[in-house]
């Protein structure tokens, strides 16, 4: 099975007055068709920037570069901005964290949905409208034909996120990137949206990157999980293995921060001491060494190895054969 997406050595640099800030420092990702990769990490670890870099949606002062970045046989690293516009919304689509502000307040839902299809396909307004109705029904919106005439402000947050999902699927993309799509929604709606995304993924057979800082959410949706820290992937494993046997001290720290019902009653939740290193400077050894309770001199001297395998952790202490 050929991969939908292959990324090697993705870097994102933010131009600052004092020099470049290396927000993403060499990320490798690979996705098979129909696979969901969970991208987990705390705020500022570079997970959203990595996604925006794939879509070429970075702000002007932010630069992306990669040794290899291939979507469905198309080299994204060499694609011109115009070519990227052709791919965006067609072969790769993205939904965002803020459904309340992600739709244009001045146009109807129908207009914004149809536009996504008519940009990439030579179809008329009637065909685009039919497709919009079909997708609104697929994302569980009733009376879809009437919704088309409504404006975003007439819809709740959950409905707007469903509209965003329908919009992303208009052209049947090969890759769907979800950047914290449920964070702004309340818990019951969150569960509905997750189930919906899972079902749609099966139906469309698309690969999905699901970005979140919520380990509970990622456990329910992801096949594999990549844990990011300070601009790099520090652990990559199947969801089951990651939760059963976390290989990186940072992953273990994150899991200790989760409340577990029926256990640890009365005990404080875990915290990871210390601060994320300054990404404007080069980091010689392991980026997590200053916060790791098991760090040795070797950790600060050289970057830890990143051996091939099904379960990988960027740590010299990780057992070689976790997989």
């Amino acid at each position: 099975m050929t991969a939908v997406l292959e990324v090697e050595g993705l870097r994102v640099d933010i131009a600052m007055a004092a020099g470049a800030l290396h927000a993403v420092r060499g990320v490798d990702l690979a996705l098979a068709p129909g696979e969901t990769l969970g991208l987990v990490g705390e705020t500022g670890c570079g997970k959203s920037l990595s996604a925006l870099a794939l879509m070429d949606l970075l702000p002007r002062r932010v630069r992306r570069s990669a040794r290899r970045m291939v979507l469905d046989g198309e080299d994204l690293a060499a694609a011109s901005p115009r070519r990227m516009e052709d791919l965006r919304g067609d072969r790769m689509a993205m939904i965002f964290q803020e459904p309340m502000t992600s739709l244009n307040p001045a146009y109807t839902i129908g207009n914004q949905l149809a536009e996504a299809l008519m940009r990439h396909r030579a179809v008329g307004a009637a065909a685009a409208r039919d497709r919009a109705v079909e997708l609104l029904e697929k994302v569980g919106i009733t009376a879809a034909g009437e919704r088309l005439r409504q404006y975003p402000h007439q819809l709740s947050g959950g409905l707007r996120q469903r509209v965003m999902i329908a919009m992303a699927l208009m052209c049947g993309p090969r890759l769907l990137i979800c950047d914290e799509p449920t964070t702004a929604l309340d818990v019951t709606i969150q569960a509905q949206i997750l189930l919906l995304l899972k079902a749609l993924q099966r139906e469309f057979g698309m690969a999905m990157i699901f970005i979140t800082h919520d380990l509970g959410v990622v456990a329910r949706i992801a096949d594999r999980i990549a844990v990011m820290y300070a601009g790099e992937v520090v652990e990559l494993a199947s969801a089951a293995e990651l939760f059963a046997a976390p290989g990186h001290p940072y992953t273990r720290g994150l899991l200790r921060c989760l409340p577990v019902p029926g256990r640890d009653r009365g005990e404080p939740l875990g915290v990871i001491p210390g601060m994320v290193p300054n990404l404007a400077q080069e980091i010689a050894g392991c980026a997590f060494a200053n916060r790791c309770d098991r760090a040795a001199d070797a950790c600060r001297a050289a970057p830890p190895p990143w051996a091939p395998g099904a379960h990988r952790a960027r740590c010299i202490l990780a057992p070689r054969a976790v997989a």
Partner: protein
Amino acid sequence: MLLFAARRLMLAVLVALTVSVICFFLLHLSGDLAQALAGSSSSASDVEAVRKAYGLDRPIIVQYLGWASRVLTGDLGQSYFFKEPVAKLIAERLPVTMVLGVCALVFAVALALPLGVVAALRPNSWIDRTALTISVLGQALPSFWFALMLIIVFGLTLRWLPISGSGTWQHLVLPSIALGYYATPAIMRLTRAGMIEVLASDYIRTARAKGLRAPSVLFKHALRNAVIPVVALAAVQFGFMLGGSIVIETVFALHGIGYLAWESIARADFPIVQAIVLILASVYVVLTFLADILNAFLDPRLRVG
């Protein structure tokens, strides 16, 4: 939408009524009109005769109600100086002022909107700074001085355009620029600020994520939202321009209602002054009403009662 329009319309009528009251009372309280009409050297008995002849001896409330009820039937009174109906005098001159105002607004918007958009696309670039300089100059230069400079450069030195009077479209060019330039800075700055804010919004990112081409993102998705406050401002600016046309019409000797107001104030011809103030205020109110309707058309969130 209908309810929205009805509410706005009621508000507009109320504002017009208030303005008519204020302008009537201010004019009557600003000095002794009978004295001004009779001339400063006339005797006390002459002044009293004038006072009686024009009905100025009645209580001011009665005078207002009499004037207001006549205005409602379309009778704006008689000019003291021209001895002609005020309505006729104004009807002759209003088109000049309106055409001047519209030309000035078109000039202002045509200059300010593109400048604002370009400045927003590249904030702090040389284009942005040039646009800022143009706008600061527009705000800082007194309009009569700017008008005189235009006359000297384009009328006297280059001899491209006529310097005064009316009749052909060439006569309107310099006054329109002089009048419109004054409104340019505010429209440009508001367009720039609106575009910068909108371009950073989530729905612009969504539009780009759909793969839309830059012109579609810029004009369909960004500009439509950025111009919503500009519409209201432009309506207000148009009202200011009609008021400001008093200076410009005087400088260019254009026989519009601004020029008429200027002459009538000097002649204490207060029925004309009163009528012009009322008409300018009404135009202002109508413009604000139209701007509200246009805004509701642009922004569906406003279409609620």
